[in-house]
Symmetry: C2
Subunit: 87 residues, 2 copies
């Protein structure tokens, strides 16, 4: 079993009020030196069986048609080790 | 300038209704072979200046106190190349 990660972020030219809210709050909270924050979504898909080119192509299609709104969002598809420690 | 990414995911033992909704919809949409979906948040922070140990420690603190609810969520902090192409 393998894990495929789909990250969905607003396109750079689209305003991101959630990210802006975080960024503006940081100095108040004592965190300086961060000039921009963007907030997006992360999907972790557990895939049965091996992840080959065909499976990745399907997941790409799935992300494009279903997980992301490609009018306003960009997405990336990455394969991740399942054994990876999540802290 | 460098980009630091904070991924925030619900802990494995916490129910994830958003992820479940996606996972259940997939077969209906013609995508089989995905046994689990978890949905979380991704924060991209643009950091002024170099990202050294001290900056990462600060961002870790920020993520722990502000971006994640560590009662129910895990988070990871990663440095990313700014030049990276976002597709």
């Amino acid at each position: 079993m393998a894990r495929v990660v789909v990250d969905v972020m607003l396109k750079p030219e689209i305003l991101d009020p959630q990210g802006q809210a975080v960024q503006r709050a940081l100095p108040r909270l004592g965190f300086d030196g961060i000039s921009d924050v963007r907030q997006g979504k992360r999907f972790e898909l557990e895939v049965d069986g091996p992840v080959d080119e065909a499976v990745l192509a399907r997941i790409h299609e799935l992300a494009e048609s279903f997980l992301a709104n490609t009018v306003i969002e960009d997405f990336t598809v990455k394969v991740e080790e399942v054994a990876e420690a999540v802290k």
